[in-house]
């Protein structure tokens, strides 16, 4: 890492070339024809165009990643330069144990066409180093004589499982428009994210993508973000524009390069903090470990190890051990290496270690600057993975004895080695983290990128802990979810090995439950035939076990802590019974609740499941016919926009908040304020849509979304009823519902999914004792609640103003306020809604948005005015079809209609006597010097005035009628009419307005 920072870098300058063309309207991304690259201080300009093969900056300067460029694109601001690529792999990027599959010695300049789906094919264009020549070599022809060093050769393709003959068609030309879309989480090349992190999960992308097998497994299990790439493109992009615009991982990279964390958003800052903090501490640790390992290894002559001073600073002790530093470039390699190391050290005694040796000699190591981030990331791996360890613990590992022995002698070292293993060995990490570090709440926040500060602090604590050489990791475990026994710890290192090996075979980790793991798994590696056999065996088992494991996955972690005994001997059946037990309990609980409710049923009149609906129409609604109608339909507030412009930051923040909570399985509150029409509810709905999509894609655990609205209930206590009804479909009284919810949220239950509760118009839930609000904010703090509460209200200081302390305190400080839209934003909103329907003049739009922004910043108002303007425009011409653009004057008219006060017109249109009465009122006010007079007084004036005007004086009854009419329009404010002549009269308009209006009438 140090090296990474201090290394002198050439600064390259990237410029788009050619005219941008839009290729994704929703994302507002623009494609570009080519990219000009130049190195600072030099004249030469390299032009990169799609179709060329490029080198992409990676961890290793000598062996950058290779890819074929498919397309360039950038966002509107032209700040972000991105490119779509087709990856190629070097052999070194292929997982260690798969290299054998090649079956021949690789050509030094051979690369493989990458067919896996795990790798993000979107990169930051600024990580492009230059172009390279790639030649396709047919399968049976030998490699050409090494000519230029710059030419690389492709012969085979690699699909993460096997090498295949490359279809020449693929190499011919991949149309840029249809890049191969990875449908599954990535793999080897995905090491690139370190170098070229683009979009998507901002922080996560910044981290080296983990071992593919893990990813794959995780993906299949349920919730890896990486599957994002597999998602439907549209939605993903919708998300990516948000994240990309704000928190793009490329920013991190550049920030890191500059060595300043200052400009990265908070989350990242935290992460970097932890990263930054770690190397120092780690280093000593790593050094010690390295030395230790070195000794062992040397004595064994397993690998010839050299301590390379250049690498010694690196975080990873693994690097110092690397025999052929140069070869290594992928994080895969790095990651793999350390555990190999450990396994080697551990396997010293085992005869099977020989197989390993070969592999490890092939092993290529590299410096991972972000090893810690790896770890963070791995922690982010699916909860299921965490739970999946249970079975693994049971594995009988012959090497356990050795481990124990080691532990006995050098306990701290043992831990270190475990630590070392854990850190780099991505493949294993998910389990290890949860198993080995007691502090980590189980399944803790995947995606630490989602800034869970908690996670970061945990991590820091852990590091401190390790620094102290504290033996008692367990004692530290305040997060009781996970208190593994020491034995577990011991065995875990073994298991890691076996596990990871199995994982690399691309198998679900759960297989380990039944895998014949008692046989040293190393054998598998030695002979591929053996492996094949066992694989098939295991797979059948997997199929059986998978379903069950998935179901219990959430539950099991909680269970674990109670089991202090050595799990090694425990059998599958035990687990099953446990599962059954928990399930049974759950079943009972759910069975119990309903029986209570029905007896209390109060309203037998309304059928419980009446399905009311408005009758459907006989003739279908007509579709908009011309441009103006189309525009009007698009501008209607109800039309759901494709994306929400101008709220990216808020979207991202809320998304991160909810996602992290959902992933952690924790709860929390958030308060969102903002004046009406600023997109609060819409943004949240958008967030939920995205999250729901993500959960559909199995990237995050499923969750439940419930929405209540203070305005849509008749009484604050109805909130309970509605929540319960939406959760469980029962209908009970408010009190009972409160009790049931209380129980639901405070008791642990297996298989509980997170509930996301949106409380709109929070202020209406105010009661005198505030118990509704209290409960709403108290539930998320319960340990088993898994409730995320998002609240919305209009006033920023609502918690301070109406909430008593204990409620406000529970609401917490996670607040966000939506500012009224500025005129630019409003303009953008309209434009994005219109979406190329050319119905408005540019100036007209600007006028509307400026006017609205000046008054309220309410987007609804803005849209309504535009809609009205289209109507006016349509009516202004005789033929609706011939109506042109909405012009300034139409908009002006609409604005006048909506904003002008009607009082003056009303006065002008009033009858003569009414106008006279108003004058009398003013005259009387002036006489009295007060802004109030009785009708009697005014009437005297009125009579005098009518005499002056030469009108027949009216009777008192008539006068009262006139007065009442004015009062009904609210031109006058009157007291109750039973006071008759004594009722007091006030003006509801300013005197000047009245005089102005009356003067204009007389002129």
């Amino acid at each position: 890492m140090v090296r990474y920072f201090t290394r002198l870098r050439m600064r390259r300058i990237y410029k788009w070339g050619g005219r941008p063309y839009i290729f994704d309207r929703k994302l507002k991304s623009y494609g570009f024809e080519y990219l000009n690259m130049s190195v600072e201080g030099q004249e030469a300009v390299t032009t990169v165009t799609p179709g060329q093969y490029i080198l992409i900056e990676g961890n290793d300067d000598e062996y950058p990643f290779v890819a074929k460029l498919l397309k360039f694109f950038g966002d509107e601001s032209h700040k972000q330069k991105k490119a779509l690529v087709q990856w190629f792999l070097r052999l070194s990027e292929v997982p260690q144990n798969k290299k054998l599959l090649l079956g021949r010695s690789p050509h030094p300049q051979e690369i493989f066409y990458y067919l896996g789906r795990a790798c993000d094919n979107e990169i930051n264009a600024e990580s492009i180093l230059g172009t390279v020549d790639v030649q396709h070599v047919p399968e049976d022809t030998p490699f050409p004589e090494p000519g230029t060093k710059d030419t690389l050769y492709v012969k085979l393709s690699w699909d993460t499982k096997a090498f295949n003959v490359l279809d020449p068609v693929l190499m011919q030309d991949t149309p840029a428009s249809t890049p191969p879309k990875p449908a599954l989480p990535l793999f080897p090349p995905c090491a690139s994210p370190t170098a070229t992190p683009v979009s998507r999960g901002p922080v996560r992308r910044a981290l080296p993508t983990p071992d593919p097998t893990v990813m794959r497994r995780a993906g299949s299990v349920s919730d890896t973000r990486a599957t994002m790439s597999a998602g439907k493109r549209s939605t993903l992009e919708a998300e990516s524009i948000h994240s990309a615009s704000k928190l793009s991982a490329s920013k991190i990279l550049s920030a890191k390069r500059r060595g300043s964390a200052a400009d990265t958003p908070g989350v990242r800052k935290k992460l970097q903090l932890s990263i930054g903090a770690s190397p120092g501490k780690k280093m000593t640790r790593a050094d010690v470990l390295c030395e230790l390992l070195d000794e062992e290894m040397e004595s064994e002559k397993v690998i010839s190890l050299k301590l390379s001073s250049s690498v010694s600073h690196s975080l990873q002790h693994g690097c110092s051990l690397s025999p052929m530093r140069s070869g290594c470039k992928t994080p895969n390699g790095q990651r793999r290496f350390p555990w190999k190391l450990s396994s080697i050290s551990l396997d010293r005694l085992s005869p099977t270690a020989l197989g390993e040796q070969d592999l490890s000699s092939d092993l290529l190591l590299a410096v991972i600057p972000l090893a810690l981030e790896d770890e963070v990331f791995e922690a982010g791996l699916p909860t299921d993975a965490g739970s999946a360890n249970t079975p693994k613990k049971r594995q009988a590992t012959p090497r356990r004895n050795y481990v124990r022995e080691q532990k006995a002698t050098t306990p701290s070292r043992r831990k270190e080695s475990a630590m070392a293993i854990r850190k780099p060995a991505l493949g294993v990490l998910a389990e290890e983290d949860s198993e080995d570090s007691p502090m980590q709440p189980i399944a803790l926040t995947p995606r630490s990128k989602r800034k869970s500060a908690q996670l970061v602090s945990l991590r820091i604590r852990k590091q401190l802990n390790l620094l102290d050489n504290t033996q008692e990791l367990i004692s530290d475990g305040d997060d009781d979810c996970f208190v593994p026994s020491k034995k577990d710890l011991q065995s875990s290192s073994d298991e890691e090995k076996t596990d990871s090996e199995e994982e690399t075979r691309g198998r679900n980790c759960k297989t380990s439950v039944r895998t014949p793991c008692k046989t040293p798994s190393k054998k598998d590696l030695q002979s591929s035939t053996d492996e094949g056999k066992t694989e098939s065996e295991e797979e059948t088992v997997v199929r059986k076990t998978r379903g069950r494991n998935c179901k219990t996955s959430v539950r099991t972690p909680h269970k674990k802590p109670s089991k202090k005994k050595d799990l090694q001997s425990s059998s599958d059946s035990e687990e099953e019974t446990m599962v059954r037990k928990t399930r049974g309990r759950n079943g009972k609980a759910s069975a119990r609740t309903p029986c209570k409710t029905p007896s209390k049923k109060v309203t037998p009149s309304t059928p419980r499941h009446a399905t009311p609906s408005i009758p459907s129409r006989t003739v279908p609604a007509r579709q908009p016919g011309n441009i103006l109608e189309e525009a009007r339909a698009r501008l209607h507030v109800s039309s759901v926009p494709e994306s929400l412009p101008c709220r990216e930051q808020e979207f991202q923040d809320i998304y991160n908040f909810v996602e992290s909570k959902v992933m952690d399985g924790t709860g929390g509150c958030m308060y969102i304020s903002g004046v009406p029409g600023t997109g609060k509810t819409a943004t949240i709905h958008e967030v939920i849509r995205c999250l729901q999509h993500a959960s559909d894609m199995d990237e995050i655990p499923t969750f439940r979304f419930i929405e209540i609205n203070g305005m849509k209930m008749t009484d604050p206590h109805q909130a309970y009823v509605q929540i319960l009804q939406k959760l469980t479909d029962q209908k009970v009284t408010a009190d009972h519902a409160a009790a049931l919810l209380e129980k639901r949220f405070s008791n642990p239950a297996p298989k509980k999914e997170t509930t996301v509760l949106l409380v709109d118009e929070l202020d209406l839930l105010w009661t005198r004792k505030q118990n509704v609000m209290y409960n709403l904010f108290d539930w998320p703090t319960r340990r088993h609640a898994r409730l995320v509460v998002l609240t919305i209200a209009n006033t920023m200081d609502l918690p301070e103003r109406i909430m008593i302390n204990r409620v406000a305190s529970r609401l917490g400080l996670t607040r966000m306020s939506f500012q009224p839209y500025s005129f630019k934003q409003l303009q953008q909103i309209i434009t994005s809604r219109l979406n190329k329907v050319k119905a408005f003049e540019e100036d007209a739009l600007q006028l509307v948005s400026r006017k609205v922004a000046a008054l309220s910043g309410d987007a609804r108002r803005c849209l309504d005015i535009c809609r009205r303007a289209t109507e006016i425009c349509e009516h202004s011409t005789s033929h609706p079809s011939s109506a042109g653009l909405v012009r300034m004057n139409h908009v002006m008219e609409a604005l006048d209609e909506m904003f002008s006060s009607s009082y003056i017109t009303a006065i002008r249109c009033a009858s003569l006597q009414e106008q006279l009465f108003l004058r009398a009122v003013i005259a009387e006010f002036r006489r009295l010097g007060l802004e109030e007079a009785t009708f009697q007084q005014v009437f005297v004036q009125h009579r005098a005035l009518s005499r002056v005007e030469g009108l027949q004086p009216i009777s008192v009854s008539e006068g009262l009628a006139v007065c009442q009419r004015l009062g009904a329009c609210r031109l006058l404010l009157l007291e109750a009419s039973r006071l008759d002549m004594l009722q007091r009269v006030r003006l509801n308009v300013s005197q000047d307005d009245v005089l102005y209006a009356l003067k204009a009438v007389r002129d």
């Binding site: 009823v721 309504d864 009303a906 008539e958 609210r970």
Partner: protein
């Protein structure tokens, strides 16, 4: 038709009968007009508003576009008439006819959301869904209705037109729940609705809570008639004229000619001018014309200027002065005493004792015709005046103060008292003189 004409000329008796029949028909037609039972062919003087509203509702009905609009205008300016005209026209369109569900609500009838919700459910015929049963709680009702509206979508469900008469009164409901929900539906992708509010309050938007207001589209159709007197006169004529399809052309011509001359009569023009000055709305005009029309009979088959004058007199009469005519001499004397007290103390309140003293002074000094009354009798008369609300007690806590000393105020104007005295039958001259003398 010609046959009948022949008949009429030859048979005076038959003519008389048919004349009676025609008069009956005329009264029928005109009464329907004046009592707002029949909509006019075309709303007068509000063409643009009519077009706007019609377009709006048509879009809701045809395109399923949700809208909200307020029709604002002073009382009697024709808001409901305009809306009804538009609805009639809308329902004549074939596509629309079976496709809209109008729901009429009135702020004076549906005084809270609970009642309003029940009414909506009833008018939407949704109660059938739950098997005719009376609904449960208010909360259930609301949830039920919202659910129903939420299920619909723009293209497939029938548009619902919510017509809220006296819209301002709905704004006084608790939390404005109903308005919020209706307007929210109109701003979200649910069943298409049009919320049409009718109100006479110009400041109605200020009544709406900010989030309710934000959901309202801010369309307001103002009905402020800027009718000139000439147009007013024309309107009167057309209102009184018979329609083209009147069965008898002869009578038709006769009647319409009569109306034409009537409207040119100077006294009639004066009366109408006075009315026009007082108020431009049609409702008060209709009242006037109705009174005039009721004086038409078979023996007097036309409206004469005198009829209109008389009707105008009835319309303009001062109600308080009328009450004064029915008072006894003693009560009248008390009123006069109060008037003097008002003059002396410049409108300060008085009590019975003061009035009684004033009255006694009058009896002692000036009265020739009026005898002394016992005090209880005077008190009784005083109380009667209070019951007639000619005088009003000033302090609310009546129980604690003796009746004689309660502070009162006179609810009559000097002019009203003098006018009443002039018209009072057989008013003693000394009382009249006392009334006219300054300071009793």
């Amino acid at each position: 038709m010609s046959k009948r004409k022949v008949k009429e000329t030859h048979m005076p008796v038959g003519e008389c009968i048919s004349q009676y029949g025609y008069i009956f028909q005329v009264q029928m037609i005109l009464r329907e007009r004046f009592c707002h039972q029949r909509l006019p062919e075309k709303p007068v003087g509000m063409e643009s508003q009519h077009k706007h509203l019609l377009e709006l509702l048509r879009r809701t009905a045809v395109h399923g576009e949700s809208n909200s609009v307020l029709i604002v205008g002073p009382r009697g300016s024709g808001k409901t008439m305009l809306l009804n005209c538009v609805l009639r026209e809308l329902l004549e369109v074939k596509d629309v006819n079976k496709n809209v569900l109008p729901v009429h609500l009135n702020g004076l009838l549906q005084t809270d959301d609970r009642i309003a919700l029940k009414e909506i459910t009833r008018q939407l015929n949704l109660e059938n869904v739950v098997g005719d049963k009376v609904f449960g709680s208010f909360a259930e009702n609301l949830a039920f209705l919202l659910e129903a509206l939420k299920k619909g979508d723009r293209s497939s469900s029938r548009p619902v037109l919510f017509i809220l008469d006296e819209f301002d009164l709905f704004a006084h409901h608790k939390n404005q729940t109903l308005l919020y929900n209706l307007l929210d539906v109109s701003q979200s992708a649910q069943a298409p609705v049009a919320v049409i509010g009718l109100t006479c309050r110009l400041d109605v938007l200020e009544l709406l809570e900010k989030r309710v207001k934000s959901r309202f589209s801010h369309r307001q159709i103002h009905l402020l008639s800027s009718l000139s007197f000439i147009q007013y006169l024309d309107n009167v004529r057309s209102q009184l004229s018979l329609p083209q399809d009147f069965p008898d052309t002869n009578f038709y011509d006769e009647w319409n000619d009569g109306i034409k001359t009537l409207c040119e009569d100077q006294s009639v023009v004066d009366v109408l001018q006075r009315h026009y000055n007082s108020s431009k709305d049609f409702r008060s005009l209709h009242l006037l014309l109705m009174l005039a029309l009721s004086r038409v009979s078979a023996s007097k088959p036309a409206i004469k200027p005198t009829d209109l004058l008389e009707a105008s007199r009835v319309c303009m009469v001062d109600s308080k002065a009328n009450i004064l005519h029915g008072l006894s001499i003693l009560e009248l004397c008390l009123i006069i005493a109060m008037k003097h007290l008002n003059d002396i103390y410049e409108g300060e309140p008085f009590n019975f004792q003061m009035v009684h003293n004033e009255f006694k002074k009058f009896l002692q000094r000036k009265s020739h015709s009026i005898h002394n009354f016992d005090k209880p009798v005077v008190i009784k008369a005083f109380e009667h005046l209070q019951q007639l609300e000619l005088i009003k007690s000033m302090d609310s806590s009546t129980a604690k103060i003796q009746k004689e000393y309660q502070l009162m105020k006179l609810l009559l104007d000097h002019s009203q008292i003098m006018e009443a005295l002039q018209k009072y039958p057989q008013c003693p001259t000394d009382v009249k003189q006392w009334a006219m003398s300054a300071f009793g």
